[in-house]
Symmetry: C2
Subunit: 121 residues, 2 copies
């Protein structure tokens, strides 16, 4: 799969709410996932497919998703960007939040090897 | 200026239609600008402030802008992303086009040193 094909498939699966399936199908076992920031003492970086899937599962369990919008993919060489917008309620404190972020994915040999999330904190 | 401050200023100037002023104020003399693609025989890469300003001026002259939308900045470390949407008419063939792209900017010492444009071709 080309970078563009990987990007299109990722967006297709995210739009269907199948983010977990996208990780299984498209992510490298050596995926590195990097947040824009992290609480003090925690790393913004998560390494390896099992840990990245666990991070996604934890996020999904901590939020009730009312609406999600996925724009893209926007390709450039071996990378592509995707724009995500989420309208969610954080279960911990019942606060409703609008999230808007850009994700940058790097592809090698038809698999996503790196994802970086861009957002204001 | 921090990366976030540079990003906010860039978005502010772009929203005011002052893209040229943004280049003067925020770009490094050694700016490198990279398109997602280029016609055969042409480089996607433009180096140096004068050449990058000339590229921007040529684009502005070649298009009539009906509407522009700028979302961001979305920061991550020494980089930030901006989402651009343009509704333009290409003067060469009078074709009306909707453009949607992600731009990724790298900042060093308070100046933008690299811009990369992500879009489908």
């Amino acid at each position: 799969m080309t970078t563009l094909e990987v990007g299109k498939r990722l967006v297709e699966l995210c739009r269907a709410g199948k983010n977990r399936e996208a990780q299984d199908e498209l992510y490298s076992p050596d995926i590195v996932s990097v947040e824009a920031g992290a609480p003090p003492g925690q790393s913004p970086e998560t390494r390896g497919l099992a840990a990245v899937i666990a991070k996604g599962t934890a996020w999904a369990q901590a939020h009730e998703i009312h609406q999600a919008r996925t724009d893209g993919p926007f390709p450039h060489g071996d990378r592509f960007a995707v724009v995500f917008e989420y309208d969610v309620t954080r279960r911990a404190d019942a606060q409703r939040i609008q999230m808007h972020e850009v994700a940058l994915f790097t592809v090698a040999n038809g698999r996503i090897t790196r994802e970086e999330f861009f957002y204001a904190m």
